[in-house]
Amino acid sequence: MEKINVSMKVNGKNENLSVEPRTLLVHALREHLEYTGAHIGCSSSHCGACTVDMNGKSVKSCTIFAPQAEGADILTVEGIGTPDKLHVIQEMFKEHHGLQCGYCTPGMIMRSYRFLQENPNPTEEEVRFGISGNLCRCTGYQNIVKSIMAAADKLREESNIEKKEIA
């Protein structure tokens, strides 16, 4: 099949790839660009292990063709923190035992990342609904919810400090 060129920004870096038009975004990320954080658990949009951020929205990258991401700004789990300074959500998942096998974790963290911007002060119920597109087979979600609630608290604290500093 003939290939086409696709350009996108991934984790702040401009990327140009030559792919078959039918290439799924998750395969473009994992196999062409070697960002293997996003995982494949179902290939049918049910499990959410492939969740990444695209132009400020959570998307399941197994259900988007790479050409649909032309010009898009993509953020994956590899792009939200560094080994020396993890993102608060990553820290809180570690702190509250919000993961076990780790397979759903990148998708779960990326969904939380977007969700907490959509709703910085969520109730437990809102968190549960907000991540209901992401399946986990290990944790029973209780500690994931705890991790996200704790991250929400921390992020609000940080944001208040920033606001005060600006003031």
């Binding site: 078959e20 080994p83 990553q90 035992h97 096998c101 780790g102 609904f129 209901s132 994931i144």
Partner: protein
């Protein structure tokens, strides 16, 4: 040194993060940053992909396979069929249960989704195109999906390859579709007690077919290095060493030239114990093409073809005196094994540990018979977060207790309490021959009933029933009780082996000169956090902080031989090996310390992280000092270095147990159930890491919730899989999952070096009964005795309808 205050024993102990501490997990740094290394993340130079052409029908002769169009497609390199594998003797492979299984369809197919041909190509897309172009002509045959029809006279013969074999791997066969009959206990004695009993409850309890469905599916990358003659396979293997041995036996590649690596595994739950056609085809394709081959199944493949669980029809009779003392238990199980017997049980146990079905109760006499039959369904029968059919056994007895309580007109909490094995009876030998190591069931039960305020719950339930009866509410309340006893840690080599390999496990430890260490084990974590917890065991044994100990598993070239991780065996077996290897390290360290301190070995005592001269606390050598000395001193009669290995053959299984209670509200008109409370008390013996235990319990309970309330692998009469995607196969989301209350009692195992019993599977085993019993309990006042799982909305609605509650 004198003027620096030595930290107290307690302070030093705390610095180790040893046994009993909720140490944060060392695995999480890489997983939270997307830096795990799962099979599908592995990318090798020149690697090709492979995938299957699968059967769309459940039973058919194969008339013709035409691969020409697929082979003509650019990007497709090869298409393997049974005819290609036959010269290598690899078109069939042995199963773990003493049967054999087709790797690729050999003349016929026996279940929908069966592997027919293996297409190899440049990438997933080219392979998918190739798969679509392979033309297979099927000549359809009659289908058997009902295990009770499999042995009928006119039933179609499924396994023509063994149709005339009168003797199977587990005794005589009486019909071409009969696999085995396995018996345990005293048949005559049990029948006599049942005949003479004051009360007998008789019920059919079905534990439906389901699937472990880990979030990561099964897969592998096989790489045959023809220059060095070495085969390396990265794969989703819960038992990498056993896979190496099996691979060597069936491929004739010498075992030292095979390296099996289990990288990070995205959940297993029993799905990744078996050996699947995909592994064999990837290996053969790599040998044929000379380049690495990746095979990763998709979700539909996973649900349709690899490793179902359960599917036991359990007919039970339980007898008791009028006042509720159980006198006997009888069980006949019809086990639907699908097209091949591919259960992953220890060899001598074709029905696993189903004969733990006397549960937590002191039952004087019992008898169990299990008939295994072939049907046109996928093979498997794996232990889905369970130790070899313990979930089936536990569900069976916990339903029978409820049915008996109904018959006796007795509260089932009281009936349980009246029949529990008493603390002073341990070690207790059950009527079906198991020696329960330890337990205090009454203590746990009383604690659980008090924690949920059981009396008040029953009062609330009665009030709700009044509201319902008076038309003020359409909801009913159910209280689900469950007490379970698991049997895990397989197991003693004298009676537990898989394909002749004794089920011991091993740990090898090396202490480095600067006092840090590496330990390697024969197990493999799939989310359980072994790198965290095994380091804790070791920290407490050898006085090196857990953070200074690296744990490695899953590489057969470096790890000592072990039988892997499933059946909650890691802590009972490999955990014991770790403690024992640690004790060997300490014994040598004592000799070194004695030399350094110029005293006799016996003059030293161990104190957290050091050997101290008895009566002279200022004279001591820390493990760190001893480690350096072992590399730096020429000690007469002592070899340099500080290493140890232990291969541990457990003297007995361990018997974790617990008390679970679920409170549920059911809408009679919609069948929708709402979980109001789940309380789970576990006794897993010595607790290594309470945080991880709690996490395991949450996860296992959620699997139990799924299984009991909706998750199933369902077939129609033509053998079509009705639940092949996550749209139909129920996996609860955060929205449907409740919060859980966890609790514990701690009764150490008397025979385990640190008293630990294992916990990972307990919540699945005990949870299913709690959820299912709650549904039954809600409808009890209207005469419901038994309703088969899963209790999805439709089935619950149907219960209400059949009981006339919609009028």
């Amino acid at each position: 040194m004198d003027d620096v205050k030595t930290p107290s024993s307690e302070e030093r102990k705390s610095a180790l993060s040893g046994l009993g501490t909720s140490r944060k997990r060392v695995e999480d740094a890489r997983f939270t940053q997307g830096k795990g290394n799962y099979v599908d993340d592995i990318k090798l130079k020149g690697m090709l992909f492979g995938d299957f052409v699968r059967s769309p029908v459940a039973h058919a002769k194969i008339k013709k396979i035409d691969t020409s169009a697929a082979l003509a497609l650019p990007g497709v390199h090869a298409v393997l069929t049974a005819a290609d594998l036959e010269p290598l003797g690899l078109h069939w492979m042995p199963t773990l249960a003493g049967d054999k299984q087709m790797v690729l369809a050999d003349g016929k197919v026996l279940f929908q989704g069966q592997e027919v041909a293996f297409v190899v190509g440049d990438d997933r897309y080219a392979v998918a195109d190739g798969v679509a172009l392979v033309e297979v002509e099927y000549d359809e045959l009659s289908v058997v999906t009902d295990p009770f029809k499999a042995e009928m006279e006119n039933a179609p013969i499924l396994r023509e390859d063994i149709a005339d074999q009168k003797e199977g791997a587990h005794g005589p066969r009486r019909h071409p579709n009969h696999i085995f009959t396995w018996e345990s206990g005293d048949k005559e004695g049990t029948n006599k007690v049942l005949d003479e009993a004051e009360v007998v409850a008789d019920e059919m309890v079905y534990y439906h077919r389901t699937h472990p469905c880990p979030l990561e599916t099964c897969g592998c990358v096989a790489s045959m290095d023809k220059v060095n003659g070495k085969l390396t396979v990265w794969g989703t293997f819960q038992a990498p060493h056993a896979v190496r041995t099996v691979a060597s036996l069936i491929s004739s590649i010498p075992e030292h030239n095979i390296r099996i690596i289990s990288p990070d595994i995205g959940g297993g739950f029993g799905n990744k114990v078996g050996v699947y056609p995909g592994y064999v085809c990837a290996i053969v394709a790599s040998i044929v093409t000379g380049v690495p081959i990746k095979w990763v199944e998709d979700r539909m493949d996973n649900l349709m073809a690899t490793a179902f669980a359960r599917d036991y029809w359990m007919h039970g009779k339980i007898s008791a005196t009028k006042d509720g003392k159980i006198t006997g238990l009888w069980c006949h199980t019809t086990a639907d094994h699908g097209a091949f017997d591919a259960c992953a049980d220890p060899t001598k146990f074709p029905a696993g540990f189903m004969n733990i079905c006397t549960g937590s109760y002191d039952i004087p006499v019992a008898y169990l018979a299990v008939d295994g039959v072939y049907t046109n369904k996928a093979p498997g029968g794996v232990a889905y977060r369970c130790s070899f059919r313990v979930t089936e056994a536990s569900y069976f007895i916990e339903r029978m207790i409820e049915v008996l309580a109904l018959k006796l007109g007795m509260d089932s909490a009281e009936l349980r309490s009246k029949n529990f094995i008493k603390k002073e009876q341990f070690p207790y030998t059950s009527a079906l021959g198991w020696e329960y190591d330890s337990g205090d069931y009454h203590k746990a039960w009383d604690k659980a009933l008090e924690a949920v305020n059981y009396k008040k719950l029953r009062e609330d339930q009665a009030k709700q029933l009044e509201l319902f009866k008076s038309g003020k509410s359409r909801k009913l309340m159910g209280i689900g009780l469950s007490h379970f006893t698991e049997i895990v840690g397989a197991g003693p080599v004298k009676n537990c082996d898989i394909l002749g390999l004794g089920m011991f496990d091993a740990c090898e430890i090396r202490i480095h000169p600067t006092g840090s260490a590496i330990a390697r084990l024969g197990t493999i974590s799939q989310g359980q956090g072994h790198a965290t917890t095994f380091a804790q065991i070791l920290a407490s044994e050898i006085g090196i902080p857990a953070s200074d100990i690296t744990l490695e598993e899953g590489d057969t070239d470096t790890a000592p031989y072990g039988l892997g991780t499933y059946g909650s065996r890691s802590t009972p077996v490999a955990g014991a090996a770790t403690a024992m290897a640690g004790r060997k390290i300490r014994a040598k360290a004592q000799m070194i310390a004695a030399y350094l301190l110029e005293v006799h070995d016996d003059d030293l005592e161990w104190d957290v992280d050091r050997f101290v001269v008895k009566g002279a606390p200022e004279k001591f050598k820390t493990m760190k000092e001893i480690a350096f000395a072992s590399y730096n001193q020429a000690i007469p009669g002592v070899e340099p270095g500080l290493e140890a290995v232990s291969y541990y053959d457990p003297p007995n299984m361990t018997y974790p147990n617990g008390a679970y209670i679920c409170v549920m509200e059911i809408d009679v008109d919609t069948g929708v159930s709402e979980i109001k409370k789940v309380y789970a008390l576990d006794d897993c013996g010595t607790r290594i890491n309470p945080m991880i235990i709690e996490g395991q319990v949450h996860g296992g309970l959620t699997e139990a919730l799924a299984i009991s309330m909706g998750q199933e692998i369902a077939y129609d009469e033509q053998g079509n899989v009705m639940t092949g995607t996550l749209m139909d196969f129920f996996v609860p989301t955060a929205w449907e999952t409740p919060n859980y209350e966890t609790d514990f009692t701690e009764t150490p195992s008397p025979h385990h070096p640190i008293g630990a019993k294992g916990v990972g599977e307990s919540p699945n085993v005990g949870g299913v009964s709690a959820f299912s019993n709650a549904v039954h309990d809600a409808f009890k006042p209207f005469g419901l005795t038994q309703a088969h799982m899963p209790h999805d909305h439709w089935r619950v609605w149907k219960i209400a309808k059949d009981l006339g509650l919609h009028n």
